[in-house]
C-alpha cells in the first residue's frame, strides 16, 4: 500500500463521509422552511433569507471536508 494509493483513498473518504451530515442538515432546513412558507405565505421573503443563511452555515461544514480532501490530494 504505497503513499499515493493511501492518499487517494483518504481524500475520497474525507469528502465522502464529510458530505453526509451537511446533506441531511440542508434537507431538514429546506423541508422546515417549505413547511413554514406553506403555513404563512406572507412571510416568504423573510423565511427565504433565513433559510439561505442557514443553508450556507450547513454547507460550510461540507466545504471544510472538501478543503481537507483537496489538501490531502494536492499538498
Amino acid at each position: 500500500m504505497d503513499l499515493t494509493i493511501l492518499k487517494t483513498f483518504a481524500a475520497a473518504f474525507a469528502i465522502g463521509v464529510g458530505a453526509l451530515g451537511p446533506a441531511l442538515a440542508i434537507g431538514k432546513i429546506g423541508a422546515q422552511a417549505l413547511e413554514s412558507i406553506g403555513r404563512n405565505p406572507e412571510a416568504t421573503s423573510k423565511i427565504q433569507t433565513a433559510m439561505i443563511l442557514a443553508i450556507a452555515f450547513a454547507e460550510a461544514v461540507a466545504i471544510y471536508a472538501l478543503v481537507i480532501a483537496l489538501i490531502i490530494e494536492f499538498v
Binding site: 423573510k46 433569507t49 439561505i52 443563511l53 450556507a56 454547507e59 460550510a60 466545504i63 471544510y64 472538501l66 478543503v67 483537496l70 489538501i71 494536492f74 499538498v75
Partner: protein, 232 residues
C-alpha cells in the same frame, strides 16, 4: 492540468512574490474605483443608464440590509463595509467564469486564494469588533467575554473562541467554494470541452452570487450580535 492550492507566482515583487490572484484583485480594485469615479463625477438628477444601474444595485442591497438590521442608524454604520464586501467578493468570484480558465495562467479568481479570503475576513471581523467597542464602550463590550462568575467566565471564553472560529469559517467557506468550483470547471473542461461543462458553469454562476451574499450578510449578522446590548 496543474491545480495548486497556493496561487501561482507571476513575477518577483520587491519583498514578496506577486501572484496572479494578487494582480487580479488589484485590477478589480482599479476597475471598481475607476468606473465609480467616472460614472459619478457628473451625477445627474435624472440618471444615465450606467448611473441608474449602479444606484439600483445600491438601493436593493440597502433595502436588504435595512430589513435585516431594522434600525436605520445601525444600517448606516455597517452598510459601507457590507456593500463593499458584497461587490468586491462578487467581482472576484465572477472572474472564474471568464473563458480560458485552465489555459491562461493569469486567470485565477482572487477568492480562490486563502490569503485574500483570510485578509477580508480578519479585516471585516476586526472592523465589526471596532464598531462594537465604539458603540458599547469597552466596559460593556468586555462583559460578554470576561466575568467574575466562573460559569460566565467559561461561557465568555467560549464566546472568544467562537469569534476566532467565525473568522476562520468565513474565510474557509469562501475559499473552499471558489477553489472547488475552479477545480471542477478545469477538470470538466479537460474531460470533454463541448457542452459538458455547461451545467457546472451554471452552478458556478449561482455559487458566485450566493457566496458573495453570504459573506456580506454574515458580516451584518455578526455586527448585529456584537452590538446587541447583552442582558442577563
Amino acid at each position: 492540468m496543474e491545480i495548486s492550492i497556493a496561487a501561482e507566482k507571476v513575477f518577483e515583487g520587491i519583498a514578496l512574490p506577486i501572484t496572479n490572484t494578487f494582480l487580479l484583485s488589484f485590477l478589480i480594485f482599479i476597475g471598481l474605483f475607476g468606473s465609480i469615479y467616472f460614472v459619478f463625477r457628473k451625477a445627474k438628477l435624472f440618471p444615465s443608464k450606467i448611473q441608474n444601474f449602479f444606484e439600483w444595485i445600491f438601493e436593493t442591497f440597502l433595502d436588504y440590509v435595512d430589513s435585516v438590521v431594522g434600525d436605520r442608524e445601525k444600517t448606516r454604520e455597517i452598510f459601507p463595509l457590507a456593500f463593499t464586501l458584497f461587490v468586491v467578493v462578487l467581482l472576484a468570484n465572477l472572474i472564474e467564469l471568464i473563458p480560458g480558465l485552465g489555459v491562461f495562467h493569469i486567470l485565477r479568481s482572487p477568492s480562490s486564494d486563502l490569503n485574500f479570503t483570510l485578509a477580508l475576513a480578519v479585516f471585516s471581523m476586526g472592523l465589526v469588533h471596532f464598531y462594537a467597542i465604539r458603540r458599547l464602550k469597552f466596559k460593556h463590550y468586555i462583559k460578554k467575554y470576561v466575568s467574575k462568575n466562573p460559569v460566565f467566565m467559561f461561557v465568555g471564553s467560549l464566546e472568544g473562541v467562537s469569534e476566532v472560529t467565525k473568522v476562520l469559517s468565513l474565510s474557509v467557506r469562501l475559499f473552499g467554494n471558489l477553489f472547488a468550483g475552479e477545480t471542477l470547471l478545469i477538470v470538466s473542461a479537460h474531460l470533454f470541452s463541448f457542452l459538458f461543462p455547461l451545467p457546472f458553469l451554471l452552478l458556478e454562476v449561482l455559487v458566485s452570487f450566493v457566496q458573495a451574499l453570504i459573506f456580506s450578510s454574515l458580516i451584518v449578522i455578526f455586527y448585529l450580535s456584537a452590538t446587541a446590548i447583552a442582558e442577563h
